[in-house]
Structure formats: C-alpha cells, structure tokens
Symmetry: C2
Amino acid sequence: MFLWLEGRRQPMHVGGLQLYTPPPGAGPDFVQNLVEAWREYPYARAPFDERAEWKVGHWFWEQDHDFELDYHLRHSALPRPGRVRELLALVSRLHGTLVDRTRPLWELHLIEGLADGRVALYAKIHHAMMDGVAAMRLMQTVLSKDAAERRPPMWAQDRPSRPRREIQATEETHGILDRVLAAGAEIVPGIRSGLRELVRAAEPESAEAQPFHAPPTMFNVRISGSRRFAAQSYSLARIKDIGKATGGATVNDVTLAVCAGALRRYLLMHDALPERPLIAMVPVSVRSAEHDAGGNQLTILLANLATHLEDRLSKMSRLERIAHAAAMSAPMAPSMLTGYAKRRPIYNVVISNVPGPTERLYLDGMRLDESYPVSIPVDYLALNITITSYAGQMGFGYIACRRSVPALQRMLDHTDESLAELEDALAISRSA
Amino acid sequence: MFLWLEGRRQPMHVGGLQLYTPPPGAGPDFVQNLVEAWREYPYARAPFDERAEWKVGHWFWEQDHDFELDYHLRHSALPRPGRVRELLALVSRLHGTLVDRTRPLWELHLIEGLADGRVALYAKIHHAMMDGVAAMRLMQTVLSKDAAERRPPMWAQDRPSRPRREIQATEETHGILDRVLAAGAEIVPGIRSGLRELVRAAEPESAEAQPFHAPPTMFNVRISGSRRFAAQSYSLARIKDIGKATGGATVNDVTLAVCAGALRRYLLMHDALPERPLIAMVPVSVRSAEHDAGGNQLTILLANLATHLEDRLSKMSRLERIAHAAAMSAPMAPSMLTGYAKRRPIYNVVISNVPGPTERLYLDGMRLDESYPVSIPVDYLALNITITSYAGQMGFGYIACRRSVPALQRMLDHTDESLAELEDALAISRSA
C-alpha cells in the first residue's frame, strides 16, 4: 500500500534526527572513525537486508543478496558555519529524496561539521518496512543507558528471525490513516480522563463530529517533492508547568495548544488565517495495559485548534473539551485517501506525539542530547508536526512541503512565542 | 519526451562536476562568502525561472512565480578526510536524486571541504531544459578568461528572451537517441578521414551494420535508482602522443581505445568478459562548417571495441577501421526505446566526447582546474562514459547504475592501466 501510494512528490519514508555529544577526548576524526568502525559490519540482518520485490502481482520481502552497506550508511558533513540551520537544510534535502526501491528501504546518515562539535544522525526508513512505533522500539535496542557500552549498529543487531513473506494488504491497510498520515506516530496513551472510553464509543457519523468542518487552508493543497524540516526542543517541565497552572491539562493538551498558537501566528504572517478554526488530526493510542503485546491500536482524534481566537486561556480549556468530544475512528480513511480531502479538507494538519525514552541514553559512547521525528507530508496535508519526548525534553519536528508551506523555519519562532504567551497568560515565571 | 521517459530509477538530468582552486588569500570562509554573494541574485532569468507545467494534455514552460533560490543553490561540504573519494561519493548521491518537477529543473551545489582546499561545483540540469551542448555553451558564458572578472551567476545572466512556449514533441524527438542516451554529448567534429561522408551515406539496414551484434553484458540490464560516479583527468598530450605513434589516430580513436581497454579489464575482473567484442555507441557531430548556426546535427557511430582481443596495437587499428564503416543514423531510436534492447542489445555502452574550452578559465576568481560531465545511465545501458576536454586535459566521467555496475571506481585504475599499456606497446616514454 505504501509502495503504491508513493510518488516522486510524496515519498513514504519516516525519518529521525538525533543530536549527540561525542565522548570526552573525541578528536576531529571521531565521526570518521565511527563510520569506519560501523563499516566493519558489512552484512545486514532482517529487516535491514530485505527489499521489496514485485512478483506475480504482489509485493514480497526478499533478501538483497547484493547488499551494499556503503549505499545505506552515509558519512556527510555540514558546510560552514555549521549551525543548526545548516543541519536543518541538509535534513530537508535528505528527507525529500526517494529511497532506492531495488534495495532495502533505509538510509543512515552520520553528519559531522556542527560548529559546537556535536554529531547528528539522520535515519530514513520507508514506511512499508517499519512504522514510527517500531522505529522507536528500534531506537531503544540501539541505544544504551551505559556510556561505556558498544552495541552493533542497527542493521547488524540480532533480531528474532521472521519468514520471508508477502507484504500483506491487510497488514498495510490496518490502521492505514494512522500509518499513512501520522507516519506511525502514536500519542501518549490517554489524553486525560475517560478518553479511552470516549474514543471507543464515538462513531464517525456521530453528532459530536459534525462541528468539525475544517476550513480550506494553505496546508491543504497538492504538494511538491521538496521538503523543509524545522525542529526545536523544549523542556518537558515547562509544558507540565503550564498544564498544572490551567488546573490539569495534560502534556498533550498543552502541546496541542502550543502548536495551535504557532499555527495561528504563521497563518497571520502569511495573511492566510481562516475565520473558522483549524482542525488537527491527532493519532491516539487506545492500547490497554492488558493487551499491550497486541501491538498498535490507534484511533484518530480531531481537535479544534481554536486558531480563530486570540485569547489563549479560553482556547486552552476549549481545546481539551472539544478534543475529547470529537474522537473519530478509522472508517474515514478511504475518503481521505481517494481525494475527498481535495474538495473539502476533513482536517488541516496532523499533530502527533510519539513517546520516547525517558532516561539519558548513549550511542557508542556519544550522549544523545536531542531527538526529533521527521514525518511525512502528503497531498492536501502539506504540514505535519510530530513531537517526541526524550529525557525531560519535548522535541518538536515540523516537516512540510517546501513549496506550499514557505519559510517553515519561522514556525520555530512562532512556537517559542506561543509557549511564552501561554506562560505569560498563566503568570508562570519562565525558566529557559 | 524526457519528462515521460523519466522514472524514479531513471532520472533524466545531466550533470557537470568542476574543480576550482580558490584565489590567492582565500580564507576558510571563502565558499560561504561566495554562496552569500550569489544569494544576492535571488531572481532567475529564463530558462532558469521556468518550470514544466502539464496543461490540457501538453507540457508547457511556465515561469515559476514562487522561485526560491535557496532550493536551487545549495551549499554542501565533504566529510573528513575530504579526498576526491568523498567528493565522488557525494556527487554519486546527488546525481541519483530526482529534481523537483514543480520547480525549474536545475540545482547548483557549491561544495567545500576538500583537504587540498579546492572547491567543487556540481550542476544538475534536467535534459528537458538543456542538453549537453547547450550546457557547455552556458559554461562559457559563466566562466571568464580573466581571473579578476566577476559575472552574475548562471541563473541571473541576461539572455535573449524567448516566448513561453509548449515543449514541442518534435523538438524533443529530434535526435532522440542522442539526446536520451548520450545526454546531449557530441563528439569532436570528424573522426579522421572521410567520416562525414560515410556517416551520411550509411543506412541503418546497410550491410556494414550487420557485423555489429552486441553481446549481452552486465551493462545491459534494467537499472536501479542509485548511481556511482567516477572521474579522472589525463593530459591531452598523452592522448595525442599515442595517436601520433600509431601513425595518425585521432584523439577520439585513442580515447575509445583507452575506454575499450578499461572495459576489458573491468569485465575480466568480474569474470564477465563476453567472447564477442563490446559495441559502443558514439554520438558524432556531422555539423558542417557552413551550417554551424543550424544547431546540433548529430548521428550515431557504432564502434567495435575489440574487447575480446588482448593485443592492443592490432585492436587500435581495427577500431578505427570498423568504426568508420559502421555509422548508423537515428531511425533505430524507436526500437531502442521500446525495449528491443532488452532482448538483444544493439550496443553495450555509450561513449561520448564533448569538446570543452581550450583556454584556462575562471569563475569569480577561482581557477577552473578540472571539468567532468556526469551523464545519464538508462535501462539496458547501465554505464555511460562521457569525456570532455578542457585546457589541455581530458576529463573522463564514468556514471553508472550502482547496482548493476558494482565498484565502478575501479574503472579509474583500469583507465590508468589501459593508457599506460598503450604507451608501453608504442614505446612512448610516459610523462605523468
């Protein structure tokens, strides 16, 4: 399914960007040596050695007998002056190119040249191979809590073997909307009280859903093949403080409110703020504790972002209330995918929140400092915001079609302003 | 036509790689400053501001009103240790990605980080926008003989305006085989005596063409989307000395013989040398002096590379003789493009020779040292060799599908060996 949906304007891979501090005493050749050490693992294990093969009318996973590590593992560098800006420019370019279909559908880029001496790692994995949740699990198997530990690189790790198999249509269409549009992201289980039950009870045609008529926006257009990525981290404590000050909003509620404020500012700047509020699609995990092993049960929440209102505090409370009432489930997927969204957007933007590791982690002795998801813009959803948590930080990753969403990097300033505005309104003393 | 032929495995852009020495006194920020100076030209002139638009069943060139220079002009860097090897790896990657169809079909990469302090420039232009000959003319308008001269960058130069127009099918199919397969390359006018007449007289079905049954080789397979580029320069004097020693072989004759030797060695290494000789397709300019303004008259020469023979001197003479007899013209194009080549290759490899400037040239004070074409591999022609001359040097550019032509970089060693072997056989004292 992802293989079919994909086109040159619409690559179907998810990405992750991570920033690391090299171990003490690392010299200028540190990254070069790391790449060379990783090249000592020239063979990949499943699924990293598997390519998609079209045979007698079906896609199969087949082992790539000509696996060439040099194609997948890439050593790159930033030009001067080596700021985060240059890093984001490079990741924007890398995320806009298609993976080679004749090979296993992944790339791993080790990037040197940040002026502050840090090392960036950008991973790109096709959605047909792995979704965001699986990618997050993968991250945990590669990283260690122990700075002294060395593990084999991600493609070379032992994993439970699985039989070579056909890529199932059912497997692919299961949770399709999530997997296509949210790029495998899931929200932190449970948006406050009683959500799980509400989600289960809600019907796509239910009255609660009716208020959600998303206005047409600049985000709801056909996209181009070029991308812009922008990313920034905020302290989880700041988000939590805001939640406390409002009397109990969850991290997700606050995150949505921050994004709503940033979107409002961005649209105002472009003189493109609709009179009606923007609607965000928020993938929500409804997996219960007992059935955790059962995998990935996701549904969709439509959240009214109240972007038409300037008053942030009233927006905040409204946001949670309306969000809770508006849960919808997957049956809308087909209309989403068959161009219904072209005539009338069902929602304007995807905002997902992927929970990440809470403890400080290391990769070959490098300390992981920041972690960002890089998701998938699609036709009529030119902007995707995916947020991930790691060790007390929330990493906001904005990915967009570079043509329909110009100057996306401004969204970072707007996010700063939106967060500060909430703090001001709630009279929270700011701690950077 | 090029827009239709193009697919994710088969991008239809040509490229050029140039190596420059910065002006005396250039500091570590030289490239950064140059990029910033070029950003002072945010508007492009035709054809650099034109994108291909599909309207009512036809492709048109239309002005891109949202032209974004930052997308087209890219500042990149090489990772350590910054050898030519790292440069070729980067160009291999860059050449393997598709241009964004929603924008003007070009990219320009300024690359810093070579350990020797030189600067690389890689340009990528879609074949629908410009062919190799036009690209070569463009190069002349951008470069100067005067190290002190500063000209506007290529996209910002004044050019005779042309009406916005439909992309003509006739325009595109004219010389299609050349334009698709040789990527706009032309050979130095006239391969020795009487060629022009022979080319004109030859018919596709003529008896002379019959001996050319190209054997199936590893180069004549469906290609993948990934590329490998390898390049190296040789002194034109060495090529000419060999020609003289054989009693009058042209630069093209010798170039073909050098490539033939390299191909033979490469195929032997892979235990894949066919018993029958490889056939190269060589685009030949038949433009006469009187009709020079009439543009680009190209035909195709099929050259027996005699790769089945070890004896180089006898091969050399045979090469020119058979090549002369085997001129064929364009009518074979349709069969080439419709998969005839799949069942039986008409030729095995494209080798073109694009004449370049003879004098030393400068770009914004940087001295151009080396210049290489980066051409187009296509299905069943997984390897393309294009050679260009510049200021007493011959730059050999090998571009191939990375999957079907593994370890292409070895071809450089084989080219060295092939050249040295010719010199040894002819008892020429070698001058590096």
